[in-house]
C-alpha cells in the first residue's frame, strides 16, 4: 500500500492535473534566456525533421515496393520518373540524418543543462527511448533501397548482435542468434527480412514514436523548459508568442536549407557507385561496406577493440543513461557540461576520423 502511494505521489508530481490547461501549458509558460538558450530549439528541430520524415515517408509509400525483386527498381522509379520524386526521396534521406544529428545534440545539451532533474525524469526517460527509436528508424530504413550497401551494411549490423552470444551464460547464449533469426525471418537476409524491416519502419516504430513523443511533449509543456543554468538571475521570455515565433522562424530557415540540399545534392552521391548497384546475393561483397555515419561512433570501436570491452562499456553506458536522474542528480552543471562536451568530441572524432583511426590501428581494410 505504501509503495502504491509512493508511485501515485511520483506520478502526481510528474503529471500535475492542475497544470493541464492551455493557460498554464502555453500562455503562462516562460523560457529562460541565457548563453545556452540556443539548446532549447534543438528538440523543436528534431520534431520538425520527424514531421518531414512522416510526410515524405507517406509520399514514398505510394511507389515503394517492399520486395527484393522490385525494391531497388521502385526507388529508382521514384527518383527518375515520378514528378518531384527526386526531391521527396532526397528530403527523406537528408532529413533522416538531420533528425538523428539534432536528436543527439538535443540529448547531449539536455544532459549538460541538467534538464533531467526532478520533476523531469519522465521527460528524460521518454527522450532516451525516442533516441533509441530514432536510431532504429535509421537502421531499418537503411535496408529498404535494397542496394549493395544497404543489404551488406545490415548484415554487418546483425552480425554484431550474433557476436554477443558467446558472452552470455548457458542457454542465454543462443538468444542473440534466435533474435537475428526473428529479425531476418530466416537463415539469411532475404524477402522475409525486407518485409519485417519495412513493417517495423513504417508501422511499428511510427506507432511507438507517436505514443512516446506524446508523453515527452506533454511532460515538457507541463513542467516548462528547465532552468538550464546555475546562474541565479536570468531573464525570461514568454513561450507564446516570443519563443514560438523564434522557433518557427528557425523551422522555416531549416526547411529551406533542407529543400536546397535535397534538390542539389543527392544523398547517394556521397557513396561510391558500386555500392549503389542492386544487391546481388551471388556476387562478392563490394569494398567500402559500412553502416550509416551515425553508427560510426560504435562501429569503429567494435572493429578495433575486443568485443567484450565494447559489450561491457555499452552495458554500463546504457544503465547509467537510464539512471542519469539519480546518478547525476546532485552534480554541478559545469561538470555535466564537461561530460557532455567529452561525449560530443568523441562522437565527432569517431564520425569524421573513425575510418582513418581504424586504418592507422589495423593497417587498412
Amino acid at each position: 500500500m505504501k509503495r502504491l502511494t509512493m508511485i501515485a505521489d511520483f506520478l502526481r508530481a510528474r503529471f500535475p492535473l492542475e497544470k493541464m490547461d492551455l493557460e498554464s501549458m502555453l500562455m503562462k509558460k516562460e523560457v529562460p534566456v541565457h548563453k545556452m538558450s540556443w539548446a532549447y530549439y534543438l528538440g523543436g528541430l528534431t520534431l520538425l525533421f520527424f514531421t518531414i520524415q512522416v510526410i515524405t515517408g507517406l509520399l514514398l509509400l505510394f511507389y515503394y515496393q517492399p520486395t527484393v525483386t522490385e525494391a531497388y527498381d521502385s526507388v529508382k522509379f521514384i527518383t527518375e520518373k515520378v514528378p518531384g520524386g527526386y526531391v521527396i526521396r532526397n528530403m527523406h534521406v537528408w532529413a533522416s540524418s538531420a533528425m538523428i544529428l539534432t536528436a543527439i545534440l538535443h540529448f547531449l545539451t539536455t544532459f549538460a543543462m541538467k534538464a533531467f532533474e526532478k520533476p523531469r525524469e519522465i521527460t528524460w526517460w521518454s527522450g532516451l527511448l525516442l533516441l533509441f527509436i530514432t536510431f532504429t528508424f535509421g537502421f531499418t530504413g537503411y535496408l529498404l533501397p535494397w542496394h549493395q550497401l544497404s543489404v551488406n551494411a545490415t548484415k554487418v549490423g546483425l552480425q554484431f548482435i550474433g557476436a554477443v552470444g558467446p558472452y552470455l551464460p548457458g542457454k542465454l547464449s543462443e538468444l542473440p542468434n534466435k533474435l537475428i533469426e526473428i529479425i531476418q525471418g530466416g537463415a539469411s537476409i532475404g524477402q522475409e527480412t525486407l518485409s519485417r524491416f519495412y513493417a517495423i519502419h513504417v508501422v511499428i516504430l511510427p506507432l511507438a514514436i507517436f505514443a512516446i513523443l506524446g508523453l515527452h511533449l506533454l511532460s515538457i509543456q507541463l513542467h516548462g523548459m528547465s532552468q538550464g543554468t546555475d546562474d541565479k538571475f536570468f531573464r525570461k521570455e514568454k513561450f507564446f508568442p516570443d519563443f514560438v515565433v523564434k522557433d518557427f522562424s528557425l523551422w522555416a530557415i531549416t526547411f529551406f536549407i533542407l529543400f536546397v540540399l535535397a534538390i542539389t545534392i543527392p544523398f547517394d552521391s556521397f557513396f561510391a557507385y558500386p555500392l549503389m548497384e542492386p544487391y546481388n546475393p551471388l556476387g562478392s561483397t563490394p569494398e567500402g561496406i559500412k553502416p550509416e555515419w551515425y553508427f560510426y561512433f560504435i562501429y569503429y570501436p567494435m572493429e578495433m577493440l575486443p568485443f567484450w570491452i565494447i559489450l561491457v562499456i555499452s552495458g554500463v553506458v546504457m544503465i547509467v543513461l537510464f539512471l542519469v536522474p539519480r546518478v547525476f542528480g546532485g552534480t554541478d552543471r559545469k561538470v555535466l557540461r564537461f561530460v557532455a562536451s567529452i561525449a560530443f568530441l568523441y562522437f565527432v572524432i569517431m564520425t569524421i576520423f573513425g575510418e582513418a583511426i581504424f586504418n592507422l590501428v589495423k593497417g587498412g581494410y
Binding site: 514560438v244 518557427f248 545534392i265 547517394d268 557507385y273 549503389m276
Partner: protein
C-alpha cells in the same frame, strides 16, 4: 588432308577467340581509383559491373548475332568520330571510343593520367553538369546523374534549379510571415480580452 582441316579449324578458332577476347582495361580503373580514393568497378565504361566477360546482360557470353556485329564494328573503330554502339559498353564507353578512337585509347593505357585531358571538356553523357573527364578523376559514374562529386553537383544543380530555389524561398518566407502574424494576433486578442475582463 584431315590434319590440314584440323589445323585450319584451330587457326580459325584462335582468330575468332582473339576477336571475342574481353578487353577490360584495368589501368584506367586503377588510376581513377587512385586519384579519387573511391571504389570503382567496370560499370564505369561497361554495361555490366563485372566487366565484359561472362554470360550476364551486357556481357559477351549473352550476345546475339546482331550484337556481335555491333561489337565487332565498335572494336574496329580505330580512328575517332566513328559511330560506336557497343553492346558491352555503356554510353560513356561508347563516347570514349567515339571521341578518341580505339587506337588512341589503347595508347593511353600506358599513361592513363592523360586520359581525362585527351577526352576533353565536351562530353557529359548524363547531363548532370559535371564533365565526364572530371567524373573519371572524381571516381564517379558518368552515366548516372545522381552520382557525382557532391560539391560539384551542388553548384551544377543550384544553377539548374535556381527558379525552384527562389520560389521555395519566397513560399517559405511568406508562409512563415503569415503564420507569425497570425500567432501575434492570437496573443494580442488574448491580452485585450484579459484587459477587458479586468
Amino acid at each position: 588432308m584431315r590434319m590440314q582441316r584440323y589445323i585450319c579449324t584451330s587457326l580459325l578458332l584462335c582468330f575468332f577467340t582473339s576477336l571475342l577476347q574481353a578487353y577490360a582495361y584495368p589501368e584506367f580503373y586503377e588510376y581513377s581509383r587512385k586519384v579519387s580514393g573511391r571504389a570503382i568497378n567496370c560499370a564505369l565504361c561497361h554495361s555490366h559491373g563485372d566487366g565484359p566477360e561472362g554470360n550476364g546482360a551486357g556481357q559477351i557470353g549473352s550476345l546475339n548475332k546482331e550484337e556481335m556485329e555491333r561489337l565487332m564494328k565498335a572494336r574496329a573503330a580505330f580512328e575517332p568520330n566513328q559511330k560506336v554502339d557497343s553492346p558491352i559498353l555503356n554510353e560513356f564507353g561508347d563516347e570514349i571510343i567515339h571521341t578518341l578512337g580505339k587506337k588512341k585509347f589503347l595508347e593511353l593505357k600506358t599513361h592513363p593520367q592523360d586520359f581525362a585531358k585527351e577526352l576533353g571538356d565536351a562530353i557529359d553523357v548524363d547531363k548532370d553538369g559535371i564533365k565526364d573527364a572530371e567524373e573519371f578523376l572524381d571516381g564517379t559514374l558518368p552515366t548516372n546523374g545522381e552520382n557525382g562529386h557532391p560539391l560539384k553537383l551542388f553548384f551544377a544543380n543550384l544553377k539548374k534549379n535556381i527558379f525552384h530555389v527562389i520560389f521555395a524561398f519566397l513560399c517559405v518566407g511568406l508562409l512563415f510571415y503569415g503564420f507569425a502574424q497570425w500567432l501575434v494576433k492570437i496573443h494580442i486578442d488574448a491580452v485585450l480580452k484579459e484587459i477587458k475582463k479586468e
